[in-house]
Symmetry: C2
Subunit: 377 residues, 2 copies
Amino acid sequence: MQFIIEHKEGRARTGKIILSHGTFQTPAFMPVGTQGTVKAMTSEELETIGAEIILSNTYHLYLRPGVEILRSAGGLHEFMNWHHPILTDSGGYQLFSLSDLRKIDEEGVQFRSHLDGSLHYFTPETVVDIQRYIGSDIMMVLDECTPFPCEKEYAISSNELTIRWAERCKQRFDASERLYGHSQSLFAIVQGSVFSDVREHSATVLTGMDFEGYAIGGLAVGEPSDRMYEMIEICTGILPQNKPRYLMGVGTPENLLEAIDRGVDMFDCVLPTRNGRNAQLFTQNGIINITNAQYKDDFTPVDDKCECYTCRNHTRAYIRHLFMVKEILGLQLATHHNLYYYQWLMRNARQAIDEGRYFLWKQQQLIKQRNSSHNIN
Amino acid sequence: MQFIIEHKEGRARTGKIILSHGTFQTPAFMPVGTQGTVKAMTSEELETIGAEIILSNTYHLYLRPGVEILRSAGGLHEFMNWHHPILTDSGGYQLFSLSDLRKIDEEGVQFRSHLDGSLHYFTPETVVDIQRYIGSDIMMVLDECTPFPCEKEYAISSNELTIRWAERCKQRFDASERLYGHSQSLFAIVQGSVFSDVREHSATVLTGMDFEGYAIGGLAVGEPSDRMYEMIEICTGILPQNKPRYLMGVGTPENLLEAIDRGVDMFDCVLPTRNGRNAQLFTQNGIINITNAQYKDDFTPVDDKCECYTCRNHTRAYIRHLFMVKEILGLQLATHHNLYYYQWLMRNARQAIDEGRYFLWKQQQLIKQRNSSHNIN
């Protein structure tokens, strides 16, 4: 992996990350393809909207289709026919949000599948092994994602465990081989809930371990946005300048713009895809719920400034109709538009940074978002 | 409307139908877009697979989005962004299969919406009016679709009513104006259940009324295939040679090939779309259920002779995975493939007729279908 920083404005920066499966520009938004598919999108459409990297999930892929099939397929890229970079989350977050009866100890996590109750065991080592089978370009360490709110004492001990697990992941990573010819990278995850000193400690210790990139995890789990921004700022102040920073599972357009301003390079979030399937469409003037009666004879595009397939070809009235009659095409068109919007946002953020006008552009975007009559929450 | 017959082999024929929104080649299969969308397919994809005409439905469109919105949109073509021909079924079939508490008399049909129980009234005249609002290139008369089995006495009296309604539809059609500039045509529907003499009478009387095209309705409702083929043969023996014949709601690949052999030019059926969404995929060697365990590590395409997007890009193992984890992309890829298969079948049928080898080609296709270990029913 090669990370080349191109321009900086304050802490915000643009760059590119070069991997075996191709290059992606940063700041980057990664559409979420949890189960080896970005919901309602073909690989071809993902290319069309300008996605250069997608995210998939170790926990889900391990359960279905399972490592055996992924290995026979020659890895996830081949399996799903996506020949650009893939990052896989380790499953840490899913273990703590989806699975039942998890039992966590020094060695790892015992858990029951959320699908059939079957018993499984993840350790830092198995999580690396599974990601070798998946063949993701960027692998994530196993971490414990603390809930919010979280007692400080628990945040400290949990974070120590996450650090020890990161070390074990790195050892396994260094001792294991890629399976499909292309190289893989391993990112660490900074935890520490909303406690500045725990975040500082986590970022400092992990930086010392010299990972290829660093994620900031455990945020957007219920804490106020300002606390989140504060934590991001602490982390990006410590994490090495020359390594990518990835803010996991975040967030709204506003969250992304604020995080970029604080030096974050990579994002993933289910918001554009999940909200799209729930009839919430992102526009340059805020969010609209397309099922609202006001759109029933509105024959304008979702966003008249947008150049996506949905906006070039269809009206609000038609998309509303599709949602009202529960047609699959509604999910397709909404997902397509929302992901395009997130790519548009990143493209424009990069351009603004390259031209040294990011701060101003960000302010303008935020005013537009806040002035809209709709609210994401 | 202009219908040009190009080649004949026995009763089978190829031709083209020229309408304001474009030309389609016959024999033609029309993908079903009941609610103003072919489920899980974009307009662009429909063009890609070679669909030249689609079907939509008066009953459904009348209920949602309603004629007012369709009128404001400038008709269904504009509303759904499909600028090729559209045929609309009159809703006769839906009145008798979907709606509750229908009350039929000489004047028309009173029915309750299957959605909210609201009371509505369709007459031959309103059905024409609604199709004027929809702006379909080919409109269908209001008919009563008899169930199977059906007493002969009922089939006779029902058929007489259908004939009187056809006359009234034609009068309304001739007395009304197109709304959006493009011309529209009206097709009659031959009924008569499985009774040869009722079918003969129906076809003879309707032929005398000089419609622009003729549908054969009330088949594939439970009767044996042989009876269906027999009824088709009776109808196509009477209906005018120089007008298109459209077999409504039929059917399997075998049904289509047999009906083409008996002189049918147009088809519609939910089989490729609905079966696709139920994991049943058509191949040149019969149907496969992609969720079967045998496909879990089968990294070949659904049909290695098929050139559709699905087969060029994805494996059976991946599509099986998508169905197992209930991902929308599975529905998209399956629908795409199945509709492509039906278009492929029609394209090859046309070519075989043009080259005077249809009968032999049909036999080969049927042997392939029957030899497959799977069965559609």
